[in-house]
Amino acid sequence: MSAPSGAIRADASEPNGPKPRHMFSRRNIFLYGTLILVALYYLLPLYVMIVTSLKGMPEIRLGNIFSPPLEITFEPWVKAWSTACTGLNCDGLSRGFWNSVRITVPSVILSIAIASVNGYALANWRFKGADTFFIILIVGAFIPYQVMIYPIVIILREIGLYGSLSGLVIVHSIFGMPILTLLFRNYFTSMPEELFRAARVDGAGFWGIYLRIMVPMSLPIFVVAVILQVTGIWNDFLFGVVYTRPDTYPMTVQLNNIVNSVQGVKEYNVNMAATILTGLVPLVIYFISGRLFVRGIAAGAVKG
């Protein structure tokens, strides 16, 4: 290749190679500055929670909620987990934890199973009237839960499931259905229809296609659904308190009991420890699968 002609002969000082980028350019300072500030704002409550939960009550009374603990104590954590009292029950959150697990696992599985089949039926097997049900479902997403509490008590009573774990699982599945169905429907709609057709030509039926073709291809959206449901169900208070009995109270109800069973002064450190403990499961799930979450959202939720 020839050398460039004279008019543009190289000059050492001329721009050459990558454009120099300053680490502290105005843009970067603004960008990272904003992000860090906002991140601090988001982290502040978590910081306060953790710090407070590690302090003793005397230290808390001294005042500054932002100051790090002078003396770290895990007492509040132990208390929140295993000895805090509600009425006569002094086993802290530990019992609620297992109840929550026992409620969350089947609820998540059932609600996702139902919603994914719904979404699949809506996306690929559009039968007459399906849209109407779907619209009802979506509108249902907006109904305040309070409106439904009473009718559901009646329905559950009529089918004899009131107060049982299965009853609560059904309630969670019902209220998870609108958003999840929307999510799955959008996702399955965005999958190539030819795949579905190929499977039909191959002779697979409704369930065959669902189980063997659709489900294995839907990891991202299942991740999103699992995250949403685990958070939603784990954090649920209203249904947990209305549709269960004390020996099956989930952790949030236990949390509420501990926090509101004030004995003398509020034990802020125990409350904070209990709060963190309660939020731990969904938090861990988020920290682990944040990236998949965004990808799944992109795949399912955004394409209306």
Partner: protein
Amino acid sequence: MSKSERPIRLFRNLNAKVASIPMILTALVVFVGGTAWTVLYSFTNSKLLPRLNFVGLDQYHRLWATPRWLISIENLLIYGVISLVFSLVIGFILAALLDQKIRFEDTFRTIFLYPFALSFIVTGLVWQWLLNPDFGIQGVIRGLGWTSFNFDPLYNSSIVIYGISIAALWQGTGLIMCLMLAGLRGIDEDIWKAARVDGIPMWKTYLFIIIPMMRPVFITTLVIIASGIVKVYDLVVAQTSGGPGIASEVPAKYVYDYMFFAQNLGQGFAASTMMLLSVMIVIVPWAYLEFGGRKRV
């Protein structure tokens, strides 16, 4: 066997229909049935137990004459506008910042998103604590020497609803950011390049080109935010229990209180019917446009 006759309609796609029974039941029995039931009983004077003792529009007359209901509606409007506007704006700005090919994107995103993993109960507790005038932000800043500093939104009737909104935004913007980020990632790279070649500054590109292109994302987001707004309850209960006084009451809490605390189901049903009605007016036409019709998205 050769099926030369057109088979009966009902049995085509039978499996799909069978599989949809949970959805159909939920839609019809729970959502439609439950709603109808609620509306029906809103015309009765049911107290602790539902009874079909019709009193016409009495419950509605009383509802609209109750100062607490009016305050609740007003609060819901303020809260709704704040949540909508700020969730969208903050969510979008954060998403746009994260979309600048920055380092540690994962870390930042996780930080913004983690509050969403926490329940409203937890959120409410934490913020109640942070906004407590004695221990919280106000106390700390006063402790630093600025003794006239005043920041006690939860204890000031006129701004308490804003205090609640702060917590709500903290909890909810992360998800909105995620949705927006997903939407931004879906924008054709070429659009950005075209805008750069055209010499359009970044903010103008966002404002005039990208945002209009993200209409579907905004709609999904709107649905999610809006459905959350109508239902806001736990947060208020955990943060202020409606106080000070009744300054931070919201309709959902009114429904709950009157149905259960006051043991006046009829009143609660009337209030919830009003909530439903307003939701329907907005949602039904939209849902029909968005999901009805024959189009396959």
